[in-house]
């Protein structure tokens, strides 16, 4: 394998956008490694529309959005290797890769961008009692079965969790002739976008039961039904149990950034996002290893993934071309009450010419608040928000220039008003 400057792990929306940006910033030898036999990642199975409103000012389907980036990547002559799985990433950026024709080989690029995306939280992580019959799938697995393999997992369906994939699959199963009986959501609010609640559930009269969860699974070989109950303070309320006969249970209970490789390389991970801790260049704790997209933190819009990944691509390019291998002093970005996390979690004090984009999520539903960023005691940004919800990522752009000298931290606050 020829020497390459930049290896991007993952050929989904993050990896492709990172590759394009890195090439445009002047990196010659880029290699994108993709585990699947097609580029595009999860977008290939997200056949619904609503992608690209920010990036292309157009409502595209997932495959169409992916195709735009694939054609950019091809047009720029960027090398992509499909069916290639990275087995190991070492702290010195040595990658061990396996491929059906090339066998096992190693690469040692000057920089790496992590773009592996995320995985769904499986049943085993949910503590649902009952047998383990056939018919229980994560929503994304069902999406793959229906949209890629052309197979319908069942006829009568209950969905646990109102994340966007669960909502999208409620509509998808309905269009394919299945009956979706109910969507149960543990939290008192939906984790999905409003648009999906309306267009995937209400359009088809599918009930959404908030503060409800599955408390029992029936059937031994094949699922025959589930029991759903109301939940108060984290516990099922006795007497509220309802039985739903069904042959399929879809789980849409959260996504977890896929960081086995990052962990192996010694990349510091955040306990909140489950993704790498990064600075404002999206560089992880391992020099020359950058991260973007759902591997870094789970996004709700692919447009933001593309933006973030393009930034990672540019930053990796700068790292390679300017040989800026030393990271100067960094200060933490801390979160006030109500803010769950920010990405990045650290800001470099040097390179005062670059703007900083903070992405964050709140921990509950709030109305009429202000998102304020304090540098020391001085507010450097304060923006009014009429509504905030955990399912909708917030973005704050900070101009570097007014950051006071000598500050010890940036603090993000959620304030009344």
């Amino acid at each position: 394998m020829e020497a390459c400057d930049l290896v991007i792990i993952g050929g989904g929306p993050a990896g492709l956008a990172a590759a394009v940006a890195a090439r445009q910033a002047g990196v010659e030898n880029i290699l994108v490694l993709e585990r699947d036999s097609r580029l595009g990642g999860i977008l290939n199975q997200c056949i619904h529309s609503g992608f690209g409103l920010h990036t292309f000012q157009q409502e595209l389907t997932g495959p169409e959005y992916a195709a735009r980036f694939v054609s950019q990547v091809k047009g720029l002559g960027i090398a992509c290797l499909c069916d290639a799985m990275v087995l190991d990433l070492a702290a010195d950026r040595t990658l061990t890769v396996i491929h059906p024709e090339r066998g096992i080989f190693t690469l040692h690029p000057k920089a790496v961008i992590l773009a592996m995306g995320c995985r769904e939280r499986p049943r085993g992580a949910l503590n649902i009692p009952g047998f383990r019959p056939a018919g229980i799938y994560t929503a994304g697995t069902a999406q793959h079965l229906v949209n890629i393999e052309g197979k319908l997992p069942g006829r009568e369906c209950v969905i646990l969790g109102s994340g966007d994939i669960g909502l999208i699959m409620a509509r998808r199963m309905t269009l394919e002739g299945a009956k979706v009986k109910v969507v149960a959501e543990l939290m008192p609010y939906s984790g999905g976008l409003k648009r999906n609640i309306v267009q995937c559930l209400e359009d088809f009269d599918i009930p959404l039961k908030l503060s409800h969860t599955v408390v029992n699974i029936h059937g031994k070989e094949r699922l025959t039904g589930v029991t759903i109950a109301r939940v108060e303070q984290g516990l099922p309320v006795p007497g509220t149990e309802e039985y739903y006969a069904c042959d399929t249970l879809l789980l849409s209970c959260g996504l977890i950034p896929e960081n086995e490789l990052s962990r192996g390389a010694g990349v510091e991970l955040s306990l909140v996002t489950n993704g790498p801790v990064v600075n404002d260049r999206l560089e992880t704790s391992v020099p020359g290893v950058f991260a973007a997209g759902n591997v870094l933190h789970v996004h709700d819009l692919v447009d933001y993934v593309s933006q973030e990944a393009a930034a990672a691509g540019e930053n990796a390019a700068r790292y390679i071309l300017e040989a800026q291998t030393q990271t100067g002093p960094e200060i933490p970005v801390t979160c006030g009450p109500g803010i769950r996390y920010t990405v990045p979690q650290k800001i470099r004090l040097e390179s005062r010419d670059e703007d900083v984009t903070l992405r964050l999520r709140v921990d509950g539903v709030y109305r009429n608040r202000r998102l304020t960023v304090l540098a020391g005691d001085a507010p450097v940004s304060s923006k009014k928000r009429r509504a905030l919800a955990p399912g909708e990522m917030e973005t704050i752009r900070l101009s570097r220039k007014p950051l006071p000298v000598g500050i010890r931290e940036l603090r993000v606050l959620l304030e009344e008003g």
Binding site: I47, N147, Q199, E202
Partner: protein, 120 residues
């Protein structure tokens, strides 16, 4: 008649109440901004959607190809259009934008492929 709906314009998700008389929206309340009223009027008089689904492919590298209506169709025709595609099978190869079913169910809108499927 009073109709209730949730605005999808932003995370606020305003709960809108509309007074509808004889198919005409008289008044919209509960909205915080003009988008809410516009949304309610469209939803209550002429709700439309894009249908996205799959169609079987013969002799392709994938068993199904993803498709969409090239424009909005009436919301009420979503299920009928999806059902009409149950027995449709098209030969590979398919390219994005290629018409799979012209003028689906007389809506005046074509159903087009959204991804490429090569010949196996």
């Amino acid at each position: 008649m009073e109709r209730k709906l949730i605005c999808i314009g932003c995370p606020l998700g305003c709960e809108l109440t509309a007074q509808v008389e004889g198919g005409e929206v008289r008044e919209v309340t509960g909205n915080t901004c003009p988008n809410g009223e516009r949304y309610a009027r469209k939803e209550l008089t002429n709700p439309t959607r894009i249908l996205t689904t799959t169609v079987r492919v013969r002799g392709g590298t994938l068993p199904v190809v993803s498709v969409k209506t090239a424009g909005d169709i009436p919301k009420g025709k979503l299920l009928a259009c999806a059902a009409a595609l149950k027995d449709v099978e098209i030969p590979a190869p398919m390219a994005p934008g290629q018409v799979v079913v012209p003028d689906i169910l007389g809506t005046g809108v074509d159903l087009v492929a959204t991804k490429s499927v090569e010949r196996a």
